[in-house]
Amino acid sequence: MKFCTVKQYFDDENNNNVTNGIATTVIPLPNKHLKIKANNKEMEQYEQELLRNVMPQELTKLILAANYLNFKEALDFFCRTVANAIQNKSVDYVRKFFGLESDFEPGEEEKLCKEFAWSFEGVDED
């Protein structure tokens, strides 16, 4: 299953996400995953390495590649990595990361922030 989709992925000319960099990261992943699946500490180290070497934009491209290839373990791994990276960040950081803008009416955002004030405790500085 995985091999067929990979071939299709490379053949598909409309797919602008294909770059060599991504292929070399995603495809060796199953082997790596199997090797380090049992050991959580190694997984964490690999995750840290990934975060340092790969720009957020690249990471999202990896996620898209894994999603297209229907490669569940890689998708889970990359999404979890992104989730761990952003979980303690501020609302502004997350907006910049995903390229979003606030679409709230004036005052609406403040009301929500006030209601959930407890969830803003202990957030990382930007």
């Binding site: 959580n40 999202t60 999404c79 679409d103 955002e109 959930f116």
Partner: protein, 379 residues
Amino acid sequence: MRRKELKEISDYLPEVVVLQILCRLPVKSLIRFRCVSKIWNSLITTSAFIDSHLTQSLSLPSNSNKLVVSRGDFRTKVEYYEFIHDDNNDSDSSFHQFQNVEFPLSFSYFKLIGSVNGLFCLCEKEQIILWNPCIRKFITLPKTKTKSAVIYGFGFDARTNDYKVVSIATKPRCLVEVYSLKEGAWRKTSAGGSLSPGTMFLCYNGAAFIKGAVHFQATCRITRKLKTCPFILSFDFGDEVFRFISLPMSVLTAELEFDIFGFRGSLSVVCYTHRIRTSCSIWVMKEYDVDKTWSKLCTVDLCGNGHVIVETDLKTDPKLSSYDPQSKQVKNLGIYGRSFNSCADNYVESLVLLNKPVLFDKADDALSLWVGSSKRKFW
């Protein structure tokens, strides 16, 4: 230039992928990220998202070691909920507390009826509330029709994805009502009619939500002086019917006292074979509802227990410990002090209740009490 690059990400990051990332976030982050945009606010509060987040939460191996222990003190009238987890990698023989939540309505003493998927059901006299401590939200249920003392049970109907509360009134005759969170109302059922007239419940509320049912201790009065041996009555939240489960043959006597709990997904009982509780035996029903599969897990001399939480009532230093029957390892839960009506259960973080409106006046008053008070200690 940078702004353009960043905008490109969201251009081809499909919603389905954003959801994959979001459902792996802890609850506290998700509540904060409701402020990111209107779209995110609405994404996070849909039933579909709450369900996918719960599925993710349940599948995390770290969530299988989380416990919540409730402890009530009659004297100060305060109830504490401690969330603790067992870090398997640690050579330390203790559980670690990661949260200590004071129950929001501390002016009266609420009893924990049950908890499923991070949602707690508590009652005080006739008032029942459903509370999700990690999103800090609770709702108050409308009152049932019956005025007499009732026994409650809390569970989840997987077929309709609905949280339900069962209320059993035994006088003048057995009346069973079910509250459905989806419907937002109580409904009478005919389950009471299926029980024989002498049925007596021996517990205050149901225990051990297993295989879609909650379990009650019961016996049957034959004559004024004669009773049957005690047995278990299960109430299934799917078909809303009672079923009889008999206890292990070798402990059956009319004087048998026992407690029901869930152990690694199976129905289990702690049987006290003597009035003076110096020892007890723990039995696990290997195949649910098949009587012959009761098997004795261990006999405990009340100085330890196995991933079974037991209160050791040593005169000088009462404490809660956990004991694993396989490894014979005792771990201190780090909870000391005399406790009344303590109970422990598995816990998972979830967003359940997030999209439910808070309907009742009394709850609003209590909510303002909660928000206004500065001495509440949450994480």
